[in-house]
Symmetry: C2
Subunit: 342 residues, 2 copies
């Protein structure tokens, strides 16, 4: 029996991939069970880049999640949207923001943006309308330098559009934390796995495809900077799992897909990290309050009660013809979900 408990009100996953089709059927309920809402990424094979596609995708996610207390915050794949389109998006009930991918940097991002200058008018409209810009911030350079090389772009965006809400998604470096501190209109999501892993875990011993993601995990200094920001309750740092499921056969093969599936273990692992560091009182801010304040969100009411009774993580999650290996497969996580109240 556990001796510690913590109740999280309205936990939110501010960066989530739920895919589509059978994979969506399998993974959506795992997030819906533990979270009050999630920001749904638009990088399907055919990116979600118009309102109709966003609407029908939201319907499919809602149906798969099958939980009326799980709020969907839908995103559009960035392209040059007109002011009219942006206003129409704002009138849609689940619309949250627009996700910008530099072209070709991650799964299904071939359609991404190649030049920021060409998209300035859309950014200006977003700024005026208060539509958040979510950015996968990596250059096309050497894999470990990509985030650092992209930081000047964030800086330029922050300076040029001072009222635009710019979220640096899944940051992985100490340098990104530093930039975040320099601009009030920047905020950031941090994943669970970047709080846990360095590149040594990915290929310092054996090579671990299930720990391979984009951006790749960096150095211990970087991990510690992220951890420090998160544990200190940094008001502009929010939890985004970047949980990104791939079927096992796309991970254990000769060309392994990037993405770590952490959705079903995320909250429990976060509780472990925060408890270990004596910062369990900061978890509520990281997984909900910071995002609600930043984005004026009103998620469905949901209370998740976590306790320090261990959870045994399955080797794989199966269903709908899919098989996925989760983060910490086969391991025990010292915290588990005791109850969810709606």
């Amino acid at each position: 029996m556990g001796h510690m408990e913590i109740t999280i009100t309205n936990p939110l996953d501010m960066h989530l991939h739920v895919r589509d089709g059978e994979m969506l059927q399998l993974v959506a309920p795992m997030s819906a069970r533990n979270f009050a809402g999630a920001v749904i990424m638009p990088n399907l094979v055919q990116p979600v880049a118009n309102l109709q596609a966003m609407h029908t995708y939201a319907e499919r996610v809602r149906e798969a999640a099958n939980d009326s207390h799980f709020t969907l915050f839908m995103t559009l794949f960035f392209r040059n949207y007109s002011e009219k389109e942006l206003r129409a998006a704002q009138n849609m009930p689940n619309f949250f923001g627009i996700k910008l991918y530099p072209a070709g940097v991650t799964t299904n991002s071939d359609e991404g943006v190649r030049s920021l200058r060409a998209v300035e008018s859309t950014l200006r409209h977003m700024e005026e309308l208060g539509i958040p810009l979510l950015v996968h911030g990596e250059s096309q350079g050497f894999v470990l330098d990509r985030e650092a090389e992209f930081l000047p772009v964030y800086r330029r965006l922050a300076e040029q559009f001072p009222k635009l809400i710019i979220c640096m998604e899944h940051i992985t470096t100490a340098a990104a934390i530093q930039l975040l501190n320099e601009h009030e209109n920047l905020c950031a999501t941090v994943t669970l796995h970047h709080l846990e892993l360095t590149l040594d875990d990915v290929l310092g011993g054996m090579m671990k495809p299930h720990l391979f993601c984009k951006p790749v995990a960096k150095r211990e200094d970087d991990r510690e900077a992220l951890l420090q920001a998160v544990l200190s309750g940094h008001p502009r740092v929010m939890f985004g799992s970047d949980s990104a499921p791939h079927p096992v056969h796309k991970k254990e093969c000769c060309e392994c897909a990037a993405g770590i599936f952490s959705a079903p273990v995320a909250l429990c692992c976060l509780a472990k990290i925060f408890a270990e560091h004596g910062a369990i009182d900061k978890l509520q801010a990281f997984v909900s309050d910071n995002a609600c304040r930043r984005y004026n969100l009103i998620p469905s009411k949901k209370k998740v009660i976590l306790c320090d009774t261990p959870m045994q993580v399955p080797m794989e999650y199966c269903g709908y013809g899919q098989k996925i290996t989760p983060l910490h497969a086969g391991e025990q996580v010292p915290w588990s979900i005791k109850n969810v109240e709606v």
Copy 2:
């Protein structure tokens, strides 16, 4: 039909893993066919750490290679050998040198050396007897820093044992090339794959287990420094493939083994690289002369005639119940072996 030909006399692979058992049966002939000799690494599951083990392993390799024109240069796994043991080793016909692994850095190196100070007397005897020391030079640090962090150890060895022949095996960094230039008693092997790959190839796009090796491929600057040394005919830089076969199921799985199987394509790929850079006249030095001079080697006489007719690399090499994916599986290499004369 090709228009260019080059004849390599006595090509040598100065760093080769042929494993044991069925894998040995499959891979040994592929090296024997193309090379006049090879330095055989001792890191079997039970390391080759005594003369009897070395003798019987040499017999097994000879039998598997089945080529009387393929000279075996056998190595012992480093431990504290006595002067008597070292003298006895020198009297064995195939003995070449001693391979030092810092503990735990690569495949089957758990038995490696933990402190250099404790092995000074053995190094002193090796220096006096003229026995080469081959070193896997990596620290236990962050995966990309390991070689750089080990360089001070090389420097200390080079200064403390000025007549010891010290080979920096499979170097991967510009910093290692620089150190090499500072000490006449240092030499180095360079692999084919470190002339071709950077970390971007390994996980900059999809993650490629078949391109995963230790030391891991580094940055483009490092690759270029290796290439420059090799193509300029650096007299103390020798080809060592570090060809290290693993069965496919140990590469395409959740914990992938380190090692690239390049033996069957190595010479052809090297010819391509040297020809592309207008340095085909330097290939003989890299793949044979530098090593023969450095170590006073007299390999079996073998001439390998390469021509610029393309070679189709198979997707896998199979036999003896084994299946291995080679470097450049399924690709075409623009050079091939036209003939081998003995």
